[in-house]
């Protein structure tokens, strides 16, 4: 029997705020342990949490970016469980009335566009960080209370590679929207993976295995690539699967069953009595909507379609938003966006990288690249001359026309002068001239080179070729 994998992801990402979710402690990675803490995030008795408005805005914004509904009513709930990194013995989260519901993410996969439905994206607080030692564990509560968005997908993913691409797209969207820095090294994105298998094309879901707390996308891909065949092999060998939580061992490259507790999870969710409900009104939501940005995929499609540039060039402008913005200004009214894209990517981006500078540091306007391409296209300067103009632009700014003038870079297309250089080249090199006359067409290139040399690069190569041919045949 042929099986298919059914995969859903719960992706947690830390929101980009200055302060924590329910108190004023800094939302900051890498501080000395237990220094960004206060009675609220340490769960001391009698304290009162107050929600961070920016975190709520970023949650609603994420909702819009993921095509979710943003309901007019939401609330916080307590999820009760005992674990050393949860100092209150409950986590504040959103249970039955989350801030966003039912959306979707479109992303490129396997040569086409795939869609994964989003069940919800709800807001909660991060927990402390456990450090494990030989005999004990140690907890740092700096992370406790950092606003955490949990983005829950429907089980629409069918392979490890598809899950990997979905995660990357989601990350790009969150970074684009300024919602999260998604710095994996700093643990800003973590994933729970739900995996089951079923006969291909079936509609019922198989027994689900959850792999918790994955902190790299490549780890997610490897874990799925291990877990799916494991489940299929178990079924094919006549075995049964149990619903369980498994842990990914990144070193061994396997998943293993985690000790299941006597009582399955019973979180006893109830409304958080310390927090008032949330009723975002139209004015508040309008302010959030004003922060909506163009999504990476939409941007890529727009660049490729409107400007006729190759997909990989569009990718560069998606990955580097300021560079893309510069390009869009440069091509205003231009007839040759593709040539401009080449200059922006191959020359400008390269120089910015070499010099460690950014678009903001440039000494020239985007229109200068448009002018530069125009004077190369019309044959006013050679492409070699173009390189010289660009180098000067990048160093000192100015306008391409003025640089051409100052440096005498304009190509000579004037027939009188060209005729003279060409005739001299023919007279000085009778061998190659005869070769050409005897049908060896390549011989003209040598003569052309001599003319270019004589003109110190200023002769228009195309006109030189035509003139030489005319004189030789004449």
């Amino acid at each position: 029997m042929e099986y298919e994998a059914v995969i859903g992801l719960e992706t947690h990402c830390q929101l980009k705020t200055n302060s924590k979710m329910f108190c004023g402690c800094a939302n900051e990675f890498g501080a000395e342990p237990n220094t960004n803490v206060c009675p609220v995030c340490l769960g001391m008795p009698g304290v009162l949490p107050v929600p961070n408005e920016r975190a709520l805005q970023l949650t609603a914004l994420t909702g819009y970016l993921l095509n979710c509904e943003v309901p007019g009513f939401a609330k916080f709930d307590r999820k009760n469980y005992f674990y050393p990194d949860v100092c209150k013995d409950y986590q504040i989260t959103q249970y039955d009335f989350p801030s966003t519901t039912t959306g979707q993410v479109d992303f490129e996969f396997g040569g086409g566009i795939e869609r994964v439905r989003i069940t919800r994206a709800h807001l909660e607080e991060d927990v402390g960080k456990n450090n494990h030692f030989a005999q004990h564990s140690g907890v740092d509560f700096n992370r406790a209370g950092v606003p955490l968005l949990e983005i829950v997908s429907e089980p629409d993913l069918r392979s490890a590679d598809m899950a990997y691409e979905y995660l990357n797209s989601l990350k790009d969207i969150l970074i684009y929207g300024g919602v999260s820095d998604c710095d994996m090294e700093k643990g800003m994105v973590r994933c729970d993976v739900n995996i089951s298998v079923r006969p291909k094309g079936g509609s019922e879901l198989g027994v689900k295995v959850e792999i918790k707390n994955m902190n790299t996308f490549s780890g997610v891909r490897r874990a799925i690539n291990y877990e799916v065949p494991r489940q299929i092999e178990t079924l094919e060998a006549g075995g049964t699967l149990v619903q369980e939580t498994r842990r990914w061992d990144d070193v061994a490259g396997i998943t293993e069953s985690m000790r299941t507790k006597e009582h399955a999870h019973d979180y006893r969710y109830f409304p958080e009595p310390d927090l008032m409900p949330l009723k975002p009104d139209e004015a508040w939501l309008a302010e959030v909507r004003s922060q909506i940005v163009e999504l990476p995929l939409a941007r890529k499609q727009r660049f490729a379609k409107d400007y006729g540039i190759p997909a990989q060039d569009a990718d560069v402008f998606v990955g580097n938003v300021p560079l893309g913005g510069f390009f869009e200004q440069a091509i205003e009214g231009a007839s040759n966006p593709k040539a401009i894209a080449n200059w922006v990517i191959n020359n400008l981006q390269a120089r910015l990288t070499e010099t460690g500078t950014t678009i903001g540091d440039l000494k020239f306007e985007p229109s200068a690249i448009r002018e530069l391409v125009a004077i190369i296209d019309t044959g006013t300067i050679s492409s070699t001359g173009g390189q010289e103009v660009f180098a000067e632009l990048f160093e000192n700014g100015g306008s391409p026309a003025a640089i051409v003038e100052d440096r005498g870079l304009a190509q000579v297309s004037d027939s009188g002068e060209l005729d003279k250089w060409c005739q001299e080249a023919i007279d000085a090199n009778p061998g190659p001239a005869d070769d050409f006359r005897n049908g060896k067409e390549n011989a003209i290139n040598f003569l052309k080179g001599q003319v270019m040399k004589a003109s110190r690069g200023k002769a228009n190569p195309q006109v030189v070729g035509e003139t030489l041919a005319k004189l030789l045949k004449g």
Partner: protein, 95 residues
């Protein structure tokens, strides 16, 4: 009092408290009484009443995203039964 629809041992385990058999009996009765008392609310006709998330009719009580001073590390760890390397030391967490 009607038969309790809860399992006192299960509830005790969720709360991580150990009960002697005597305590189980006593608390079972008390908890049953409390639930019975609260059950009185079910007698109310709430047709047409919107479910509420909070008894106080307020919403959107929020704070601006501004950093406020934290407490000192020393104060944070002052009540820790054990500490090392500025961390709260707990029994080894094994999953």
């Amino acid at each position: 009092m009607a038969d309790n629809d809860f399992d006192i041992q299960y509830v005790a385990n969720l709360a991580r408290i150990a009960l002697s058999p005597e305590e189980e009996g006593k608390l079972s009765t008390q908890l049953g009484d409390i639930l019975g008392y609260v059950k009185k609310l079910e007698e109310l006709d709430v047709t047409g009443v919107e479910p509420m998330a909070h008894a106080v009719p307020m919403a959107n009580v929020l704070r601006a995203d501004e950093v406020q001073p934290s407490i000192s590390q020393e104060a944070a760890l002052a009540n820790a039964p054990r500490q090392a390397n500025s961390l709260f030391v707990v029994p080894k967490i094994v999953e």
